[in-house]
């Protein structure tokens, strides 16, 4: 979330799209109802289904799954053509006025630089035009046909209400009514917040859907504003934290990135990531990259890392392919290219697409290690459970180890909620039996490996033998030690420009501004610096006071970065540093104090006066929000609608007859998985998977109370489709895709209605995902038997939310 849960109450309009927070985040959703009750806000939901979020919405529309860019792209065109944008904001705080290179173009659904053989783009032309001074060229009149604003206008001019209607299935009347309500938020003192979740990420165009939302918010002037923002409602209690800590194939902690194989030179690696301003005088905070990087290397390697050896740059693995994501890994595993695999609190047999392929892949491993509090399906993938898991154990040669871990109630530490708050928790009891915390398991396992390397030698032992490990009990590192380590400390005395000591050696650092690139500081995750300072554990703070009445409780827990609660909050004030309106006052420039002050920690250099001309988006080299993504996305600088890889509609209506532009042209799909895509004739219905209020993923089927209130697997089918296939509520149905099937009880409902797409009627089939073959609920089928093995072009997040099925009476 750029903003936070309580801040939703400051919104004047709430757009819920690609998510269903009333059911998936019920307590957070109370701040939506608070805004409706006490801020006269309206809630608009746009979803394929009538959800419980939609049930309390003032306005709603039903959209065909996977077509959100069409709706939002049309909205962008509407805002521009009717001149309902926050003009001062757009001109100063976005790249609307910057000029784009001549050779950038878009034709037949493809951006310039496409190479069909590699399904990728040469992104060279996706750049601003640079002037002789080395900075991006600009046209403040917004009239230059090559400026971002005019290119944006041209790009979305194709997204007319009729076109949007024919793609999304929403009637033109409904489209225009909702666009009008959203456009009313372009005035400076009104804001819309956008709430989304996995209903946006789990598409082959997922990242671009979210970008379209961010572009809408920039045009409306809603980024950095209380009650505004683009708010990802994340799916797990600490999925934000694990992302922040970089537990993803290409990342290091704090959104730093591993080098690829071509990046052999340390200086070139650093320079590429050290973003210098591309507009004169801007902050461009990533210019400090080396400080963050060296502080990480000092944390991990201590004295072994020094300037002379490039801080052990070569000790970190380098990437030979763009991503070693889970789809790539299971593709390789299915071909026998992996020997070992660890699942720490993760249940891939249930959670990954095309379950048949996942079973095949796991069966080819030599060893599998499952660390979990629960007996997951993955840990028993080799065990026959009849039709629920139809395998022959004797034919599966994988050695499987299952290690019992603690759950939350037995664990101490911090987790990061969707609002970036690090909240500390304490253990209430010991775990059952001989279960152990993950920290201890990783500690012991590492020490055993280190002993083996010490005793036997082995390949490239350097990072193993030199890894810092100064824990009180080496085999059992404690949460407080680890939290202090990722916060960071001074390794030597730090001094200011006059030579005064500002930080003694050994002291905890108060913020990442103290980090240095010369090896005098250590920090395991620079964005978390400030969470455990000399003043103690800031994550355990419990002051819930709200002195400005904005819902901003700075004394409760600690938020990264630097305890800021709303990102880009400098944009809540105009160019002169005054709030856009009295109702939206959040931080502002105080000329007497010579500082930015207000309800939040300014996301800006505190003493940089408005007259200095620094702009609010300090992480961007231009200082402004990007309507034009430049080279940061792999599939285009402007989002474009492409059909899901499995779609009930045979072509992309924006590009009829252009087969290359039917699906995302830059999305990776393996040959075998392309063969496993269904055709509309055989699998005619759009299907989507989702969560229910009473369950959390595949966990709560192990909890008795949740199993009682929602005991049995079902699928939701609209009345029209039910009568077409001759079933009534309570009948058993078989839902099949090209890859597998599930059987479940049919809930025949008015919540799903057929929609007209072009000349065809499309039904949606709703598939809740919570059942499996372990747990105390009734046994059920893993729904990812159905889903396709293809992911978002940028992130490789699988396309669980849009695929096709057929439904038969059992």
């Amino acid at each position: 979330m750029t903003n936070h849960w309580v801040d939703i109450r400051n919104a004047n309009l709430i757009l819920s799209m690609g998510g269903n927070s009333a059911e998936a985040h019920p307590v957070g959703f109370r701040w939506v109802t608070e805004a409706i009750e006490h801020n006269k806000a309206e809630l608009i939901t746009i979803d394929p289904r009538f959800t419980r979020t939609g049930a309390v919405a003032q306005d709603k529309a039903f959209i065909r799954t996977g077509t959100d860019i069409a709706f939002l792209g049309g909205l962008i065109s509407y805002l521009i053509e009717t001149d309902q944008i926050q003009r001062e904001y757009v001109l100063n705080y976005t790249d609307a006025a910057l000029i784009v290179r001549e050779d950038y173009g878009f034709e037949d659904g493809l951006f310039s630089g496409y190479d069909e053989s590699t399904r990728s783009y040469d992104k060279q032309s996706w750049m601003y035009e640079m002037g002789d001074d080395g900075f991006a060229r600009r046209d403040a009149s917004l009239q230059n046909p090559r400026c971002v604003y005019q290119l944006l206008r041209e790009h979305y001019s194709r997204y007319t209400p009729d076109m949007v209607s024919s793609i999304t299935g929403i009637t033109v009347d409904n489209i225009q009514r909702i666009w009008k309500k959203i456009a009313a938020m372009a005035v400076p003192d009104k804001t819309m917040t956008i709430l989304y979740a996995l209903g946006w990420t789990q598409h082959s165009i997922g990242s671009q859907i979210i970008r379209t939302a961010a572009m809408v918010q920039l045009l409306l002037g809603n980024m950095g504003m209380p009650g505004g923002g683009v708010n990802a409602l994340r799916g797990h209690s600490n999925i934000q934290g694990l992302t922040d800590l970089g537990l993803l194939s290409q990342l290091l902690p704090g959104y730093m990135t591993l080098a690829n194989a071509k990046e052999q030179d340390y200086r070139a690696y650093i320079d590429k990531r050290t973003k210098q301003p591309t507009v004169e005088g801007q902050v461009s905070y990533w210019k400090n990259y080396e400080k963050f990087h060296v502080s990480l290397m000092k944390t991990w390697y201590g004295d072994a890392a020094n300037e002379g050896n490039d801080w052990c740059f070569d000790w970190l693995p380098k990437l030979e392919r763009p991503l070693y994501d889970i789809l790539d890994t299971f593709e390789r595993m299915s071909k026998g290219e992996l020997n070992g695999y660890f699942c720490q609190g993760f249940n891939p047999l249930a959670s990954f697409p095309n379950r048949a392929k996942v079973t095949r892949a796991l069966s080819s491993l030599k060893y599998l290690v499952v660390m979990d509090p629960l007996n997951t399906e993955t840990s028993e993938f080799w065990k026959n459970y009849g039709e629920y898991n139809d395998v022959d154990s004797s034919q599966i040669g994988t050695e499987v180890f299952r290690l019992p871990t603690c759950c939350f109630a037995e664990d101490e530490g911090s987790i990061v909620n969707s609002a970036r708050w690090l909240q500390w928790h304490w253990a209430a009891a010991p775990p059952p039996g001989d279960s152990r915390p993950d920290t201890r398991i990783m500690g012991e396992l590492f020490l055993k490996l280190k002993q083996l390397y010490q005793a036997e030698g082995g390949v490239f032992p350097d990072p193993i033998l030199n890894l810092t490990w100064d824990y009180r009990i080496p085999a059992d590192p404690k949460a407080d030690e680890l939290a202090r380590e990722f916060n960071g400390r001074a390794l030597e005395d730090l001094t200011d420009e006059q030579g005064n000591v500002t930080r003694r050696a050994g002291e905890q650092l108060a913020g990442f501004a103290e980090l240095t690139a010369d090896g005098r500081t250590a920090s395991g995750c620079w964005i978390f610096t400030g969470c455990w300072t000399e003043a103690g554990n800031q994550m355990a703070n419990r002051d819930n006071s709200d002195p400005y009445g904005t819902g901003n409780t700075l004394g409760w827990a600690w938020a990264w970065p630097m305890n800021r609660r709303i990102l880009y909050n400098r944009a809540s004030a105009d160019v002169q540093g005054r709030p856009w309106g009295p109702e939206k006052a959040f931080i502002w420039w105080d000329g007497e104090q010579g500082a930015w002050v207000g309800a939040d920690v300014p996301d800006f250099p505190t003493n940089s006066p408005p007259s200095q001309g620094q702009m609010p988006f300090i992480m961007q080299p231009e200082g402004v929000g990007h309507l034009f993504a430049g080279q940061s996305m792999v599939d285009g600088p402007f989002p474009e609608h492409y059909e899901p890889f499995e779609s009930p509609v045979p072509q992309n209506l924006l590009h009829p007859g252009k087969e290359r532009a039917r699906n995302n042209p830059a999305a990776r799909i393996f040959d075998e998985d392309r063969e496993a895509l269904g055709k509309p004739e055989e699998f005619p219905h759009a299907a989507t998977t989702y969560r229910l209020t009473e369950h959390f993923h595949f966990w709560t089927k192990h909890a008795e109370l949740n199993a009682i209130v929602q005991p049995q697997q079902f699928v939701e089918i609209g009345e029209a489709l039910a009568s077409e296939i001759g079933i009534v509520a309570g009948d058993w149905v078989k839902v099949s895709s090209k890859r597998g099937f599930i059987k479940a009880v049919a809930v025949v409902t008015k919540r799903l209605r057929p929609m007209m797409i072009g000349d065809r009627q499309v039904h949606h089939v709703g598939i809740p995902l919570h059942w499996g073959f372990t747990g105390v609920a009734k046994k059920g089928y893993l729904v990812n038997a159905l889903t396709p093995f293809v992911g978002d072009a940028n992130t490789q997040t699988p396309e669980y939310k849009s695929f096709t099925v057929r439904v038969d009476k059992v």
Partner: protein, 197 residues
Amino acid sequence: MSINVTRRQFFKLGGAGLASSSLAMMGFAPEPAEASIRQFKLTHAKETRNTCTYCSVGCGILIYSKGDGSKNVEQNVFHIEGDPDHPVSRGSLCPKGAGLLDFVHSKGRLEYPQVREAGSSEWTRISWDEALNRIARHMKDDRDANFVQRTAQGETVNHWTTTGFLAASGSSNEAGYITHKVVRNLGMVAFDNQARV
């Protein structure tokens, strides 16, 4: 018997069950008050602050356990409720979170390390030492056999692609951090958490 109940204690009682909510209906107020005959069940409980483990709202919870923390006394969790001081959740829990206690005591909780040998159709209980020794042996054998120091083009990569690791987005930052520190320094690159899906 007359007791003094502070406002905070009153709300704790109020969240605790039917007995206290019916008292509230009779106009029971947080001032000198008549106590129920039975000792209130949370009175001697240890209260521990924690955060709900399910979605990302991060609702504050209070875990109540029996046992006074003294030596040879094991705490046993018997009640979980929302933390009324929490600025987001203000004491609420949703239908998922309302079942947290049953997650803690689920029949599906694992208790001992186990191994399923190749081709077998059952689990065998083993010690932690045996489990970790065997796992470490597998890892080292695979790493030593398949670790790539240089590509065919002579580029230094120092990576290990034949063992992969999925980390848990339900675990704490501290577990995540040490996991990253260990996994990356073994050279692993096939490394993701639930954020990937």
